[in-house]
C-alpha cells in the first residue's frame, strides 16, 4: 500500500490557504511525524488527508487512486483517525467505545456480530485494556482514554493510522507507552502518521519527518536529517540542542535539549 500526498495546498478558504504545496510519500510500516509550531496547519493537513476538507489543489492518492472519488465508507476502511481530544459526555463502556470503531465493517443497518467481538477482544488484550473493559470512559485516566481511542481507530482495521497529537496532555510514562505502541504497530505493517510538539519523538521513533516552517517549503526526510539544530531554530524560534547519547544497549540515541536565555536569543533566524 502506498499513500501519496501530491503537491497539496490545503486550507479552509481558497484565498487564504494554510499550507502550500505539500508532498509526502509513505508506504506500509512507515512512521511519519509532522512537526511545526502551534497553528501552522498540522491539523489542517490531517483533515485534508482524511478528506474532511477538500484539498485546494493537488491530490491525495492511496495506491495511486485519488481518494476524492472514494466513498466515506471506503476511505474509512483504509484510513483511521484518532482526534486530539475526543471526549464524549456519555458514559460509554470501554468495550462499547472500541466496538464503535467497527461501524464501517458492519452494514448500514447491522449490529456487531461474532467476528467484530473477536476483533475487539483481541485489541483490548493487545493494548492491555482488558481490566478496564466494563468501566465507563468518563471514569478512566487520560492516558487510558487515549489508548481506548487508538483501539477504536484500530478496530476499523485500517492500513493508515492518523493520530493528531497522541501524546498531548499525557504524563511522561503514558507518552512513552503510546510511542512504544506506535512502533509496535508499524512493525506489523501499519502506516502511521502523527503530529507532535516534541521533536524528540521523531528521533526516538526514527520516523520520516515533515517539518513545517511557515512561509517555506515543508522539510521532509529521515528524522536525523530533518531534526537539526538549524531547522529547529527556524521552525520554533528557540535554541534547541540535539545531543547524542547511548542507551542501555549502547546504541546511539539523539535527544533534544531546549536551552533558555541564549545570547543570540530566540528571535533571530
Amino acid at each position: 500500500m502506498k499513500l501519496e500526498v501530491n503537491s497539496v495546498t490545503c486550507g479552509y478558504r481558497r484565498d487564504a490557504p494554510v499550507l502550500r504545496d505539500v508532498s509526502l510519500e509513505l508506504a506500509d510500516g512507515d512512521i511519519c511525524c509532522i512537526l511545526g509550531h502551534n497553528g501552522v496547519g498540522k491539523s489542517t493537513l490531517f483533515k485534508t488527508i482524511l478528506r474532511l476538507i477538500p484539498p485546494l489543489s493537488g491530490r491525495v492518492l492511496i495506491d495511486g487512486d485519488d481518494i476524492a472519488r472514494w466513498s466515506r465508507a471506503r476511505l474509512a476502511d483504509s484510513v483511521a483517525y484518532v482526534a486530539q481530544s475526543s471526549t464524549t459526555v456519555f458514559p460509554y463502556l470501554v468495550e462499547e467505545m472500541v466496538m464503535l470503531g467497527r461501524m464501517n465493517r458492519v452494514g448500514l443497518f447491522g449490529a456487531p456480530g461474532k467476528r467484530d467481538r473477536e476483533v475487539v477482544d483481541g485489541l483490548l488484550a493487545e493494548l492491555g485494556l482488558d481490566r478496564l473493559r466494563d468501566k465507563p470512559c468518563t471514569e478512566i485516566s487520560g492516558g487510558e482514554r487515549q489508548l481506548v481511542m487508538i483501539a477504536q481507530a484500530l478496530a476499523q482495521e485500517p492500513r493508515v493510522l492518523v493520530l493528531d497529537e497522541p501524546t498531548a496532555n499525557l504524563d511522561y510514562g503514558n507518552k512513552i507507552a503510546v510511542m512504544e505502541m506506535i512502533q509496535r504497530l508499524s512493525g506489523r505493517g501499519l502506516c502511521t502518521i502523527f503530529t507532535t510538539h516534541d521533536p524528540e519523538h521523531a528521533l526516538l521513533l526514527d520516523a520520516r519527518t515533515a517539518l513545517i516552517i511557515p512561509g517555506e517549503q515543508v522539510v521532509f526526510g529521515p528524522a536525523d536529517q530533518v531534526v537539526t539544530e538549524r531547522n529547529l531554530k527556524r521552525a520554533y524560534h528557540a535554541t534547541i540542542r540535539v545531543v547524542e547519547i547511548l542507551d542501555d544497549w549502547r546504541r546511539p540515541v539523539r535527544v533534544c535539549l531546549p536551552l533558555l536565555n541564549q545570547p543570540d536569543g530566540g528571535t533571530a533566524s
Binding site: 482526534a83 464524549t88 458514559p91 462499547e96 464503535l100 443497518f109 465507563p136 468518563t138
Partner: protein
C-alpha cells in the same frame, strides 16, 4: 459465554414491560377497582369469541349470553386498547428522548426543547378555537393541527441551527437549542393565551382542552389506533434499524466522518424520527413531563451509553413507568374523574432521576 451474555440482555427489560402491561390490564376504567381474575377471564373470553368468529364456530352465536356472564367485559376491552396506546406512547417518548440526547451530545436534552410538546399544546388550543363546540365530534382534524404546529416549531429551531452554522459550514447545535427553547417558550405563552381565549367562547371548552393536553382520556377509536400505530411504525423502524449507527452521532463530527459515517445525514434521520416518535406519543397520550428527559438519562447511567442498550432499556422502562403511573392513577378518583397521569409521572420519575445523577456526578463535573 459471550453469546449467552449477549442474548440475556433484553430479557429483564422485556419481562418488566410485560409485567407492567399485565398489571395495567387488571384495573377498571370507569371506576377504581382491581379485578385481576375477572380481567383474565374477560380476555380469555374475548380471545375465544374472536377465534370463534374467525372460524365461524357455533360458540359465536351464544356471544351475548357469554358476555353477560362476564362482569366488566367491555371495560376490560377498553382497558386493553388503552394499555396498548399507553405502553406504546411511553416507549416512544423515551426512545425519542434517547435519540435526541445522543444526537445533541447532551445527557439532558429532550424532544421538548425543540418545541414538540409546545407544538402539541398549541395545536390543541388552535383546534378548539377553530371548532369550538363541535371539537369533540371533529377529533380527526386535531392531528392536522398538532402535527402542523409542531412541524412549524421544529422547522424554526432547525432552520435557526442551519442559519447560525452557515459561516462555519457546519450545523450549530447550540444555536438550535437556544432558538428551540425560546421559540417553544413563546409557543407556550401563545398556547396559554389561546387557552384562556377559549373561555371567552365557552367555559366548558377549557375542560376539553385540559383533558386533551393532560391525556385524561386516551383516544382508542379505530382511526386513532391506526394513526398511532402508523406514526410509531414510520419512526420506530429507522431508529431500530440504525440502532448501532446512531452511536456515531454521539462522537465528534470529524471522528464520525473518519469512521465512514455521514453525520449530517444520520442526524437528519434521527431528528425526523425522534420528533415523530415524541409527537405521536404526546398527541395520543398527553403531556408526560420530564419522562422523556429522565428515563434515557437513568438508563444510560445504569447500563452504559451504547445506543443499542439505551434504546432497548429506555423504551421498556419508559413504557413500564407510564403503565405503572396510569395504573396507580386509575385507582385515585377525585370528583368522579381519574387523576391525570402527568403529576404522578413527576413523582415516580424524580427520585430515580435525582439518584442517578447524584451517583454519576463525575459525568457532569
Amino acid at each position: 459465554m459471550l453469546q449467552r451474555r449477549h442474548r440475556r440482555r433484553w430479557l429483564a427489560p422485556a419481562l418488566l414491560f410485560a409485567g407492567m402491561f399485565l398489571l395495567s390490564l387488571c384495573f377498571r376504567t370507569a371506576q377504581p377497582g382491581f379485578i385481576p381474575a375477572e380481567a383474565a377471564r374477560n380476555l380469555w373470553t374475548a380471545l375465544r369469541l374472536w377465534v370463534a368468529q374467525v372460524l365461524q364456530q357455533p360458540l359465536y352465536l351464544d356471544r351475548f349470553d357469554i358476555i353477560d356472564g362476564c362482569p366488566f367485559y367491555y371495560e376490560t376491552l377498553i382497558r386493553l386498547r388503552n394499555s396498548l396506546v399507553t405502553a406504546g406512547a411511553g416507549a416512544a417518548v423515551c426512545l425519542g428522548g434517547a435519540v435526541f440526547q445522543t444526537m445533541f451530545k447532551n445527557p439532558l436534552a429532550s424532544p421538548n426543547i425543540l418545541g414538540i410538546s409546545t407544538g402539541v399544546n398549541l395545536g390543541n388550543a388552535l383546534f378548539i378555537m377553530a371548532y369550538t363546540t363541535q371539537s369533540l365530534a371533529m377529533m380527526g382534524r386535531r392531528y392536522v393541527y398538532c402535527y402542523a404546529c409542531a412541524a412549524v416549531l421544529v422547522v424554526l429551531a432547525v432552520g435557526a441551527g442551519k442559519l447560525a452554522g452557515r459561516h462555519v459550514g457546519r450545523f450549530s447545535v447550540v444555536d438550535m437549542l437556544i432558538v428551540g427553547s425560546l421559540v417553544s417558550q413563546f409557543g407556550n405563552v401563545l398556547a396559554l393565551y389561546y387557552q384562556y381565549k377559549i373561555t371567552e367562547i365557552d367555559y366548558t371548552l377549557l375542560t376539553v382542552y385540559q383533558e386533551l393536553s393532560l391525556g385524561i382520556y386516551v383516544l382508542t377509536g379505530l382511526q386513532d389506533m391506526l394513526l398511532f400505530a402508523g406514526g410509531l411504525a414510520v419512526s420506530l423502524t429507522p431508529v431500530l434499524l440504525l440502532r448501532f449507527r446512531l452511536n456515531g452521532t454521539a462522537l465528534d463530527d470529524e471522528r464520525a466522518a473518519a469512521m465512514g459515517l455521514r453525520p449530517g445525514a444520520l442526524r437528519a434521520v434521527g431528528m425526523v424520527c425522534g420528533s415523530v416518535l415524541a409527537l405521536t406519543a404526546l398527541i395520543h397520550c398527553g403531556d408526560m413531563g420530564i419522562l422523556s428527559m429522565a428515563i434515557p438519562c437513568v438508563c444510560r447511567m445504569g447500563r452504559g451509553a451504547d445506543f443499542r442498550k439505551v434504546c432497548l432499556w429506555s423504551a421498556c422502562l419508559g413504557g413500564s413507568i407510564l403503565l405503572f403511573c396510569r395504573s396507580v392513577c386509575s385507582m385515585i378518583y377525585v370528583a368522579g374523574m381519574a387523576m391525570p397521569v402527568n403529576f404522578a409521572i413527576s413523582l415516580v420519575v424524580l427520585p430515580a432521576f435525582v439518584l442517578a445523577i447524584s451517583k454519576q456526578r463525575s459525568a457532569f463535573e
